[in-house]
């Protein structure tokens, strides 16, 4: 069995075992074991990848290709490059942290963990797919559990949010489907028949007219899940209603499918279409960066603040991808990772705070640093990482993005870059505002003095997410090395 297919088989086995569990303690134990195995596999994958990369020059490693539907030339085709590997590591860590954070889930625990792992399976499958059809299957597989996860275990307007999220993402995938079919039926340029394989498609040189028609469809299809303005509205509502672990997966992992898909499919397969259309999407993503940041300033609900901050940060990912520049792309990937860990950590902390104070309104809280120091201190660290302080992952990512983006000679790109850079200042405003109102100052309510400290499973969850943030910030070269080499074929394809 190859090393990548295991990322589908292990979750499948976990789900199968979960079906037979009878109580919360059994269910969480199985889910935890499953996620630990996934994490171990992802670590193993990193080392195996580095070892293999030294001797193998192909674009994708660990490939495997099985014919699935022969009449359509659909294959089960998988492979990984450095970017895939980093995304898989991100997923496995966030999933494991998510299981820890959901340690006390009471209502239908078995179903909760099954949905969670189905989501993770979809995400793994999406990252490793080299075949557009398979990729699309996993894309939808990752989205649909969100409906149940938010709808059953959520709070507030959960039915509305779940429906909105599902329909918007499914509408996006419907648009994407047209794009994929368009790519497929224009891929027969070499006389070898139609293909869904991404590498073959990139080599096929799809006619420019077709690229111009199908690039926007493909781009928007993916970018909606990457929270491109103005299609981001599913995300804040979804976050606000979702239970903690689901928010973590939603922001930490699910939204990464957008940037990854844009990079892997829209830009790589349809480069000419991308150049033709990039101007409008640069405006949208740059506007999203600014808009998300300003929207976050005005919010009072902690979850909405971080949801809009996600819109802003992920807008930056799409922005960087549209810069067609190696440094910026490197930054985009690191930003994806950094945002994944950071936002997952934010939502985990928000969940813990909410459990203790029973409110998410920043105006009602105060002086939490005195009562829950560990959570509060971590919140400050995550906040500093989010606003791009050197030493944390956010700095490395944003530095790369803006340096890369500014390398453009073109005034249009430079102006857009300047505009998005200014969002950093606004980010500082909303982060520090929350820190000031919620954590500093006198303790606002008597009841807060009695709130319990951090339990062991919460501690582990926090550490799992905090370590990578600091790790990336302190030693970014190691990661850049992994990503940078994998950017070569894409750069050659696009430029």
């Amino acid at each position: 069995m190859d090393i990548l297919s295991l990322f589908l088989i292990v979750p499948a086995i976990t789900i199968l075992l979960l079906v037979f569990t009878r109580s919360l303690s059994q269910a969480r134990l199985v889910a935890l074991l499953g996620s630990i195995v996934q994490f171990a596999m992802s670590m193993n994958l990193v080392f195996a990848y580095i070892k293999e990369r030294a001797i193998n020059d192909s674009i994708m490693l660990f490939t495997r290709d099985l014919v699935w539907f022969e009449p359509f030339n659909i294959h089960y085709s998988i492979g990984a490059d450095g970017i895939t590997v980093t995304m898989i590591v991100l997923t496995s860590i966030v999933v494991m942290a998510g299981v820890f954070i959901s340690w006390k889930i009471n209502d239908l625990p078995k179903e909760f963990f099954i949905s969670l792992i189905v989501l993770a399976t979809g995400v793994y499958g999406f990252f490793i797919s080299l075949d557009l059809f398979t990729m699309f299957v996993f894309f939808e597989l990752a989205v649909i559990p969100m409906y149940l996860l938010i709808g059953i275990w959520g709070s507030g307007k959960r039915e509305f949010s779940a429906m909105k999220l599902t329909l918007m993402l499914m509408a996006a995938s419907a648009v994407l489907l047209v794009g994929i079919l368009g790519i497929y039926f224009n891929s027969d340029t070499g006389g070898n028949g139609f293909t869904f394989n991404i590498l073959e498609l990139a080599a096929a040189n799809i006619p420019a007219e077709a690229q111009k028609i199908f690039f926007p469809l493909t781009f928007i299809g993916f970018a909606v899940i990457g929270a491109l303005f103005p299609f981001h509205t599913w995300s804040p509502d979804g976050h606000a209603s979702a239970p903690t672990a689901v928010s973590m997966l939603h922001a930490g992992v699910l939204m990464k499918l957008g940037g990854y898909g844009v990079f892997r499919v829209a830009l790589y397969v349809l480069p000419e279409g991308a150049i033709e259309w990039s101007w409008i999407f640069i405006i949208l993503s740059a506007f999203g960066v600014i808009y998300g940041a300003f929207a976050a300033v005005r919010q009072t609900d902690l979850k909405y603040i971080n949801a809009y901050s996600s819109v802003s940060h992920l807008g930056l990912v799409l922005f960087a991808l549209l810069m067609f520049n190696k440094t910026a792309w490197n930054g985009a990937i690191i930003q994806s990772l950094s945002h994944g860990f950071m936002t997952a950590l934010f939502f985990a902390l928000i969940g813990m705070i909410y459990e203790r104070t029973h409110t998410r309104d920043v105006r009602k809280m105060g002086g939490l640093l005195k009562v829950i120091p560990m959570i509060s201190a971590t919140y400050v660290i995550a906040g500093l990482a989010s606003l791009g302080l050197p030493g944390f992952s956010g700095f490395v990512a944003e530095m790369n993005i803006f340096v890369g983006a500014f390398e453009h000679e073109n005034t249009y790109y430079r102006i857009a870059t300047v505009i998005s850079v200014s969002a950093i200042v606004v980010t500082a405003v909303y982060i520090l505002r929350v820190v000031g109102m919620m954590l500093m100052g006198p303790v606002k309510e008597e009841a807060y003095l009695q709130i319990p400290g951090v339990s062991w499973y919460e501690r582990i969850g926090i550490l799992l997410l905090l370590l990578p943030i600091i790790g990336i910030g302190v030693a970014p070269l190691w990661l850049s090395d992994l990503i940078y080499k994998s950017l070569h074929p894409f750069i050659q394809g696009v430029l």
Partner: protein
């Protein structure tokens, strides 16, 4: 011609024998033991389904009026499986309602008679046989729709079905006469060369098309659907929505792809308009339905619209996707109808609001329903996704990207109302949920088969490969 030639009518002959066996059993069994007719009927039909899979040679009979080939054979088998599942799901209803009224055996006889009509319809080699098959398949169903005579809605459904189907087949027959008048033949094989774009012929084709469109319940021939489904017994509603629709779609596709192949430029436009209208009307009307039977009625109208995307391509790939979708659709829709029937038998409740909190009391039924709805909505990894994706691929292969776009818009709309049912079952909590109950053995067997089909048919690709191969053979 020798007697052995009749063996290619094996499906029809065996089913006729079964009808006779049930007739004899009805006379021979003492009235206390009438209940065993159910077991007999299901058992014999099960045997028939298995025999159906034995290989069959390609041949024709009666000077070309009746013919068969690999794909037709396969479709008959698919219909058999569908009817078998349907019988399993109806066993409880027959047991509790029909045995006492002494009409269990008639149920089987009428149902099988209608199925024989469908066999003849899809095996027909000329318009005469086709028309006979069409009538034979419709008339018994009208009787069955009115089967619960004491219920006003059921009688109403029967009358509505018989009147509107009589009108539709009359129009169809008128169309056939025009086709004959302008071309001089009613044999499909001869018509292939005689077809031209003569106006009388085109008129005939359109009128003929309307008759079939009625059976498939394409917009604007769909008005009977919701009322009949709501009034008729659930078994008959599901029969109408899967078996009857499936066979009509198949013969329509075959006729368009072979006999009317040279007129593709003409019927392409008709199919385009009908597809858009059917998808939108079906989906938009489904949004507001509360009764599960009406809900599934509109959903099945919309599904017919999606099938037209496979038909519009006119290629062997399109034919394969249509047959594949029919196969998947039979399993998905029967699963949904099966759950509705199980709940209706047990509690008499048929409204969506009655399903609130169902997962917490009846998790298995809810899961079956969820799988069925996901399959109808086209969510991977269940079979419906593959069926729909391939239909869209077939349409896109001819460059109908706008049509595909409208179709995916409709997929999103349909997802909304399918999620409404899932919302009721999983998300809502009810003070007065349907209490836990254990379905009867036959019902459980029927549901298990559908679930297995939904789970396997998509991922297991040899199924599609096989259908594709047969389609290529047929088109050449």
């Amino acid at each position: 011609m020798t007697w052995s030639n009749f063996l290619i009518m094996r499906h029809e002959v065996v089913l006729l024998l079964i009808i006779m066996a049930i007739l004899i059993a009805e006379i021979a069994l003492p009235s206390k033991k009438k209940a065993s007719i159910i077991h007999l009927g299901i058992f014999l039909f099960g045997i028939h389904t298995i025999i159906g899979f034995l290989p069959l040679e390609e041949n024709q009979l009666f000077g070309g009026m009746f013919h068969t080939n690999g794909l037709i054979h396969l479709v008959k088998n698919i219909l058999n499986i569908g009817v078998l599942i349907l019988l399993l799901q109806s066993a409880d209803w027959i047991q509790s309602r029909l045995i006492a009224e002494q009409k269990a055996s008639e149920f089987f006889i009428l149902l099988f008679a209608s199925l024989i009509g469908m066999y003849f319809m899809i095996s027909s080699g000329d318009f005469l046989m086709f028309y006979l098959g069409l009538e034979l398949s419709t008339l018994p169903v009208a009787a069955l729709a009115a089967y619960e005579v004491t219920k006003r809605t059921s009688s109403e459904a029967g009358i509505k079905l018989i009147l509107s189907s009589a009108l539709a087949s009359g129009i169809s027959l008128f169309g056939i006469s025009m086709i004959y008048a302008s071309s001089g033949s009613i044999y499909f094989a001869e018509l292939v060369d005689l077809i031209n774009s003569n106006h009388l012929l085109l008129m005939g084709i359109i009128l003929f098309f309307s008759g079939l469109a009625f059976k498939i319940s394409l917009v604007p021939f769909h008005f009977w659907t919701a009322d009949v489904y709501e009034g008729a017994p659930i078994s008959i509603a599901s029969y109408l929505s899967v078996i009857s629709k499936g066979s009509a779609v198949f013969i329509l596709t075959i006729l368009l792809f072979t006999v009317l192949k040279s007129l593709i430029e003409v019927w392409e436009n008709v199919v385009y308009v009908l597809a858009v209208a059917t998808m939108f009307i079906g989906n938009l009307f489904a949004l507001r339905q509360q009764n599960m039977k009406r809900f599934l009625a509109f959903s099945s109208i919309a599904q017919a619209g999606f099938i037209l995307l496979g038909i519009i391509s006119g290629t062997s790939m399109g034919l394969a996707t249509v047959v594949y979708f029919i196969l998947i659709y039979i399993f998905s829709n029967l699963a949904a109808f099966g759950v509705v029937q199980a709940i209706s038998n047990q509690t008499g409740k048929e409204n969506m609001s009655d399903y609130e909190g169902l997962y917490r009391t009846n998790p298995n039924l809810s899961l079956v329903m969820m799988l069925a709805l996901f399959s109808l909505a086209g969510i991977p990894p269940v079979a419906g996704f593959f069926g729909k994706f391939f239909l869209f691929t077939a349409a896109a292969s001819k460059g109908f990207y706008w049509l595909v776009f409208l179709a995916v818009v409709n997929v999103t709309i349909s997802l909304y109302y399918y999620l409404l049912v899932i919302r009721a079952m999983f998300l809502r909590k009810s003070d007065n949920p349907i209490p836990f109950f254990q379905s009867k053995l036959y019902m459980r067997l029927g549901l298990v088969i559908t679930v297995a089909g939904i789970a396997v048919l998509g991922i297991y690709s040899p199924v599609f490969d096989y259908i594709y191969e047969l389609s290529i053979n047929l088109m050449n």
